[in-house]
């Protein structure tokens, strides 16, 4: 295999310049990237270089928890189902399925020509094995929850599977998108509870995905190679290399020097550092809402914040617009609830809190905060000033900035805010789990299914559980319970719409914003079609036309 970048550095720069200048032209815009110029045919070949800020911790994502491992794992393994561009569930390893009317019986018909990377055929036995692995108490996985709802899994024949649920479970279908593991390779390790120590977690994992394992140099890179036997046909891009580069600043420089082909940009980089012609020519920039929102959370055990008027007052005081401009340079959108605009569960028909200091003061006064002391701070009847500590975790510049803006805003109102930034592990252990906080700035990642039982239900307020603000609302509880028991989308939609209405009214937390994801991709790549599911759902269809390929390979 020859790679064009082989010569010593100076020659490299020259040859690269010649190569790019000499042969063909580069894409002129994102339009080219999507449609391809007329006459371009999908071609096999080339290497795609990605940048990752974190190391992967292993090659069997089921027992890992970091997103880097999931990204790489999703190329190597497949699930029974996956999501398409518009976030609809479509089959991957499953050809079709049937869900009974009462949502209790699920039958999968699996594809018949799928092989594991070592050549053995994929069968229903592997699915049963994966299920048993996930529920095995000796397996250190964090994603067991969905499978606990299953009553039994039965292999009907090598390509048909029948699953019975104890109760109707909304996330049932989605949960089978988890990575399928090979029984013939991993069974002994699972039995002994040593799945993490299996050699496939370090090297040569066996999956059914579009890419096979090439190499993993810990701390340096991960290399994946196209799977010629992939059941949907060989992916066009021959190799994918993940370069591990911890510093965002360095990734950006590598991008400029064409050392990586794709990276996520920060708001600053997107807006102010990538607008020059050379960059726009070499890369296509994308912008779409990411699946995470940032919020200001209150501890409802604190009597000041237990009063809804106080929370609503703060909601009026904070200008989300200012936050988005200040922290994201405008590259985000306001959040009114825990669902992303554009998803089926989202509704915009909820109470909103337009920025207004007068309204905020009114509400605070109604809650008993009328007097101000000599320092300009609001005081209650006992003369105690309204002051609280706002905590957030170290390592997240965005949240720190949000805290600083909130602090300045509330100062105007007469509330003193002291910011404290705490290292993550300590933060979790000493403050979140012990509920030793007054207010926090954190974020939630949005799952693909709208069920958010774990966060809002009043039963989930134990120390290791996710309702750490100690919120309790019986109507919300009921809606959450019903929502997760149905498998009919229309029904669930009604529940979740009502949920958003209540949450907006109650403001248990102040939903601040959804930031935008800001990826760029080298303009020589074709087939990139952004949609609600982001960019990567169709990675297997991306290609680089022959004349633009930079790294020729076999």
């Amino acid at each position: 295999m020859t790679v064009k970048r082989s010569a010593p550095p100076v020659a490299l720069a020259l040859s690269l310049a010649l190569a790019l200048g000499g042969c063909g032209g580069e894409a002129d815009s994102a339009v080219d990237q999507v449609a391809g110029r007329a006459g371009e045919k999908p071609a096999y070949g080339d290497t795609f270089i990605e940048a990752m800020t974190g190391n992967i911790s292993g090659l069997i994502p089921n027992v890992l928890t970091d997103s880097a491992s999931f990204d790489v794992g999703s190329m190597i393994y497949s699930g029974l189902v996956t999501r398409d561009r518009d976030l609809n569930i479509v089959g991957e390893l499953a050809e079709s399925w049937k869900f009974s009317k009462d949502c209790l019986d699920l039958t999968f018909n699996l594809r018949k020509n799928v092989r594991w990377h070592d050549g053995r055929p994929f069968t229903a036995a592997d699915v049963v094995f994966t299920y048993e692995t996930m529920i095995n108490p000796k397996t250190p996985t964090a994603y067991r929850e969905d499978f606990k709802a299953v009553e039994a899994v039965r292999e009907v024949d090598p390509h048909t599977l029948h699953i019975r649920y104890k109760q109707p479970y909304a996330k049932a279908l989605q949960s089978w998108g988890t990575w399928m593991l090979p029984k013939h390779v991993l069974e002994p390790y699972v039995r002994e509870g040593r799945l993490r120590e299996a050699p496939q977690n370090r090297s040569n994992p066996v999956g059914t995905g579009a890419y096979r394992f090439g190499e993993w140099k810990p701390g340096e890179k991960v290399v994946l190679v196209a799977n010629a036997d992939y059941f949907e046909g060989r992916p066009y891009l021959s190799r994918v290399v993940y370069r591990i580069i911890p510093s965002q600043a360095t990734i950006f420089l590598e991008l400029k020097a064409k050392g990586v082909d794709s990276a996520g940009l920060t708001a600053l980089q997107f807006k102010r550092q990538t607008e020059y012609p050379a960059f726009r020519k070499a890369y296509s920039k994308y912008q779409y809402p990411a699946n995470a929102y940032t919020y200001l959370g209150f501890n409802h055990k604190d009597p000041r914040f237990a009063d809804r008027r106080v929370r609503q007052a703060i909601a009026h005081a904070i200008s989300k617009h200012e936050l988005i401009d200040g922290v994201l340079l405008g590259l985000g959108r306001e959040a009114t609830g825990p669902y992303k605009p554009g998803t089926w569960a989202y509704t915009s028909k909820v109470k909103t809190y337009p920025h207004g200091m007068a309204k905020a003061r009114e509400l605070l006064a109604a809650a008993g905060w009328t007097e101000k002391n000599a320092d300009g701070l609001l005081v209650n009847k006992q003369g105690h000033p309204f002051a609280f500590e706002l905590l957030t975790n170290q390592g997240n510049d965005e949240r720190k900035k949000v805290a600083e803006i909130v602090q300045a805003t509330l100062k105007e109102l007469g509330i003193q805010v002291d910011i404290r930034v705490i290292e993550w592990a300590s933060f979790l252990k000493e403050y979140i789990k012990k509920r030793r906080f007054e207010a926090i700035i954190l974020g939630w990642g949005i799952g693909l299914d709208p069920d958010q039982y774990e966060i809002w239900h009043s039963s989930k307020t134990g120390p290791d559980e996710l309702n750490h603000i100690s919120y309790a609302n019986p109507e919300v509880d009921a809606l959450l319970e019903q929502g997760r028991k149905s498998c009919v989308q229309e029904e669930r939609k009604a529940y979740y719409h009502r949920l958003q209405e209540i949450l907006a009214e109650d403001q248990p937390i102040i939903f601040l914003y959804f930031r935008d994801a800001l990826p760029v991709v080298s303009s020589r790549v074709r087939g990139v079609v952004p949609g609600p599911n982001g960019l990567r759902y169709n990675f297997n269809e991306w290609y680089v036309p022959k004349h633009l390929q930079r790294y020729t390979s076999g």
């Binding site: 965002q248 102010r272 200040g326 404290r420 252990k429």
Partner: protein, 265 residues
């Protein structure tokens, strides 16, 4: 150096803008007439932040290095002068502290105490004396065998007097260097600590954390990295001159060196 101290003390009076008030319309403005040093990532005036930051950084720099040097000198002198068991014990303590996982101590402190400028100074000071101690000890080991020490002892001078009047002034040289180097190190350590969460909390400024925050905007916000760096450099250089001046004044041998002592400012 005096100028710097003055600036720091007068900060609230002379700073033109509120150093902590974000203004999202002015994010990362370049230096201009209105904002002579530019604005930072939240639109705050850098000049004002530098003034306020001076108070924090200079305090941290001088006090923590002061604490560390004090501990180091005392322990190093004791070890070097007495030798034997005392020396051995103190040196093993030094070994322990060198290996000590400072980060964990910090995390523990951070989790249980409220971070304030005093905790930072204490932590940096209490964990940074080992170098000075070893340097002083080495000097003492050498110096105590010298003629003037032997003479003093034979006349019956007390240990304290010998140490204080004779050995210590001669041993100070490397200590001064250590202090000069220690001050910027302490300032930068503080910024590292605030990165971790122990240190001045946002929105308060210190030179170190202006630098830190400016890391992501190097290309388009060079002023966030250059000015604090310059400030630290000036502090170090001026302290260096100051230290040299003191040493020149104290060192008896230099006084005798003919024609070489130029009265410096």
């Amino acid at each position: 150096m005096v100028c710097l101290a003055l600036l720091a003390v007068l900060a609230p009076v002379i700073a033109p803008w509120d150093p902590n008030r974000p203004d999202v319309k002015k994010i990362l403005d370049a230096p201009s007439g209105v904002h002579p040093l530019g604005t930072d990532q939240l639109g705050r005036d850098v000049l004002s932040r530098m003034f306020y930051g001076a108070r924090v950084s200079l305090a941290v720099g001088f006090v923590s290095v002061g604490i560390a040097s004090l501990i180091g000198i005392v322990l190093g002198a004791t070890a070097g002068y007495h030798g034997g068991v005392v020396d051995a014990t103190i040196m093993r303590l030094v070994d322990l502290m060198l290996v000590f996982p400072r980060l964990f101590l910090l995390l523990a402190v951070l989790a249980f105490l409220r971070p304030s400028i005093w905790t930072i100074m204490a932590v940096i000071g209490l964990t940074g004396w080992m170098g000075v101690a070893r340097l002083v000890r080495a000097e003492f080991l050498a110096l105590k065998e010298r003629e003037f020490v032997v003479w003093s002892e034979s006349i019956g001078a007390s240990a304290f007097r010998i140490v204080w009047r004779h050995i210590l002034p001669n041993a100070m040289a490397p200590v001064l260097v250590a202090m000069t180097l220690g001050i910027p190190a302490a300032i930068l350590t503080e910024s590292g600590l605030s990165f971790l969460g122990l240190g001045v909390q946002p929105p308060h400024a210190s030179w170190g954390n202006i630098l830190n925050e400016g890391k992501d905007a190097i290309e388009i916000g060079w002023w966030l990295s250059v000015y604090p760096g310059l400030a630290i450099l000036v502090t170090v250089l001026s302290y260096n001159l100051f230290g040299e001046g003191i040493r020149d004044a104290l060192d008896p041998r230099l006084r005798q060196s003919a024609g070489r002592i130029v009265t410096r400012r």
